[in-house]
């Protein structure tokens, strides 16, 4: 007898961290472990409110708890931001495809992301860090609108100290009164500082659609291969299991065949950036 695919695994909210005025990270502890592969997503439900797809932002080697970074964007996420430690939430999943870590081994890995798109990338980054000896280097280009919109502020200094990690941040603009001594400009301008070989390196991209579109364009111009650009797509993954059809993108279900696609896979599908 197959388990009921609609049934949620109960979990408890342990703590929350306010990353930015709009982004909050929740640390949750499922009643039973929910092992996942980095890049996969879960359906997080708030009892009586609703359910939505989110990518864990913690390393997949951490199994006792799971971090989920949520941006306030609508009804459900407003309520998620109001949740308090001790509250019960539900999990379904994990669902979908993951980042192909085996293909990253021995490589210079580029991670390019912006805004709340940094959530799955944090998971990827931390997972790579846990086995850093397997990878030649990690270049992490992270973008945000303004300094105060940068998530994971506390963690960046420590991440940056790692010898095999090159971490560069850019913000679109610096409003008066905010301090910032890093790059200014859209995140894709950082690609001008790239010091790895585009022809052989994998690149992982996640962020707002417009950032993903122009990020992909610039990566292709630099010489990255279409089948080595990994995109974390976002569509309305309502059920997570290829049933509700909301996330259909041409012949793919984003929830089932994605959310991680290579650009080569989906470049001919309609509406990928919408």
């Amino acid at each position: 007898m197959k388990p009921n695919p609609y049934e949620a695994i109960p979990a408890v909210l342990l703590e929350t961290v306010d990353e930015t005025p709009l982004i909050r990270t929740l640390r949750i502890k499922p009643d039973r472990p929910v092992p996942f592969q980095t890049g996969q997503f879960i359906e997080l439900s708030l009892p009586g409110v609703g359910e939505g797809p989110f990518t864990p932002s913690s390393s997949h080697f951490v199994t006792e708890t799971m971090d989920v970074t949520v941006m306030k964007a609508g009804f459900l996420t407003d309520h998620i931001h109001k949740a308090k430690p001790g509250d019960r939430v539900g999990l379904r999943g994990p669902y979908g495809s993951s980042y192909p870590l085996a293909e990253f081994e021995g490589q210079d890995v580029l991670i390019l992301g912006g805004g709340c798109g940094l959530a799955p990338l944090r998971s990827l980054f931390l997972t790579l860090l846990d086995e850093i000896e397997k990878y030649r280097s990690i270049t992490f280009f992270a973008g945000a609108k303004t300094p105060q919109d940068c998530p994971y502020k506390e963690a960046f200094p420590a991440w940056r100290k790692h010898p095999r990690v090159r971490l560069v941040r850019a913000v679109d603009s610096v409003p008066p009164g905010e301090a910032w001594d890093e790059e200014v400009g859209v995140v894709t301008v950082l690609l001008g500082k790239l010091d790895i070989d585009p022809k052989s390196s994998p690149a992982v991209v996640c962020g707002p659609p417009v950032m993903m579109k122009f990020g992909t364009r610039d990566l292709l111009r630099l010489g990255f291969r279409e089948d080595r650009i990994y995109l974390s797509m976002e569509k309305k993954m309502y059920c997570g299991i290829g049933q509700c059809r909301h996330c259909v993108m041409g012949e793919y279900y984003v929830c089932k065949h994605g959310p991680v696609f290579t650009y080569a896979q989906i470049k001919n599908e309609e509406g990928i950036w919408d």
């Binding site: 009921n4 695919p5 009892p47 009586g48 579109k213 290829g242 309609e270 990928i272």
Partner: protein
């Protein structure tokens, strides 16, 4: 598609002793006795019934009651079979409902085909919808040959016939005043055995009588004739290359109500509502419609199909291209309900015909150009 029953050996095997002829009145009486005298396992019988207040050949699916006026043959009911087996609104988690066996009679070939698609979509290696499976397991489906056609019927345009050859538990074919019954599954055989035990059976046959074949051919010709103006193309891939202007023109009268998808026997798009109380997680699934603006819109407000003509196009592509690719058969079974239900008077067949005739355009590359 390969069916075991297409092999002569299996055909003989299936036919042996499981085909019988009973009077139409006796069959209906038997269905009533199932309920009144608790014959057999069926505690509920669903079938197409005439409306209470007027005589009409249009029937709706309903539970059989003392005063209901069933139409077992005729043409398909107004509402599709999915309405029963895949409810508009059903609690799916936790799911522990144990319901008694039911008999679903009067289903037509277009709905039988739809069930084959729903079976593939809702009961497969990756996924089993517990509520649908429960309905499916406990329900015996007795299909009936069409003896009439609605103006919108067009099963023959999409590779179908106005009678089912596979996919039913048991099938009833009109044979004068009688029905010629045959079983397709063990559930159907159990039904026929029960009928033979309780009803006077006029004859058993080991093959389909020539008169049934002749009436089927006649009915098929009638559906073909009323669709003579429409093509039956090899595939509908051309639709992908129809211009945005053509789609805008076809969807001009579309108000985006979603009636077409709700009444379509193969549409199963769902939303999952969380209706939890306290610590218990309760999930309720209900129908959604790709014709609605919020369907594919994400929280940020982005949507791959913000315009009505884009959503209209999506439905046609889903039915005629995507589902074909995914399930091996068209998502349209030719029941014509979407045309019948459309308040804008859009005829699915006519729209497809015109769109298939538009010169192809090369759509701009989707990627980064």
């Amino acid at each position: 598609m390969f069916y075991w029953t297409s092999l002569p050996f299996f055909r003989t095997f299936f036919q042996k002793g499981v085909r019988l002829l009973i009077h139409a009145d006796d069959l209906l009486a038997f269905l009533r006795r199932c309920l009144n005298e608790r014959i057999g396992p069926y505690r509920e019988v669903y079938l197409p019934v005439k409306p209470d207040d007027h005589d009409s050949s249009a029937a709706t699916l309903a539970p059989l009651r003392e005063d209901s006026r069933p139409i077992l043959d005729g043409y398909r009911a107004i509402d599709p079979v999915k309405l029963l087996l895949y409810g508009v609104r059903e609690r799916v988690a936790p799911f522990d409902r144990e319901s008694p066996a039911a008999l679903l009679a009067g289903v037509k070939a277009c709905d039988i085909k739809a069930l084959e698609i729903l079976d593939r979509a809702l009961i497969n290696d990756d996924f089993v919808d517990p509520a649908y499976r429960s309905w499916r397991d406990r329900t015996t489906v007795l299909s009936f040959d069409c003896t009439d056609a609605a103006l919108t019927c067009h099963c023959t345009l999409v590779g179908g016939k106005p009678y089912a050859e596979t996919g039913f538990d048991a099938n009833a074919a009109r044979f004068g005043d009688h029905f010629f019954l045959s079983a397709g599954t063990s559930k159907g055989k159990a039904l026929l055995d029960l009928i033979r035990k309780h009803v006077r059976v006029d004859a058993t046959h080991d093959k389909i009588p020539a008169a049934v074949e002749a009436r089927r051919a006649e009915m098929t010709a009638r559906v073909e004739a009323q669709n003579a103006a429409f093509e039956r193309p090899e595939d509908y891939d051309h639709l992908k290359a129809s211009s945005a202007e053509a789609w805008k023109e076809e969807s001009r009268e579309c108000v985006g109500c979603g009636a077409c998808t709700h009444i379509c026997p193969t549409c199963y798009c769902l939303i999952l509502n969380d209706e939890s109380r306290a610590a218990n997680f309760i999930k309720v699934r209900s129908y959604d419609s790709c014709q609605w603006n919020g369907y594919a819109r994400v929280a940020s407000g982005a949507s791959p199909r913000p315009r009505m003509d884009e959503r209209f196009r999506h439905r046609y592509l889903c039915k005629l291209v995507f589902m074909k690719k995914e399930f091996g058969s068209l998502g349209c079974t030719g029941c014509g309900r979407c045309t019948e239900a459309c308040p804008g008077g859009i005829d699915f067949r006519s729209a497809v015909r015109r769109l298939m005739e538009t010169p192809p355009i090369s759509r701009p590359a989707a990627g980064v150009g």
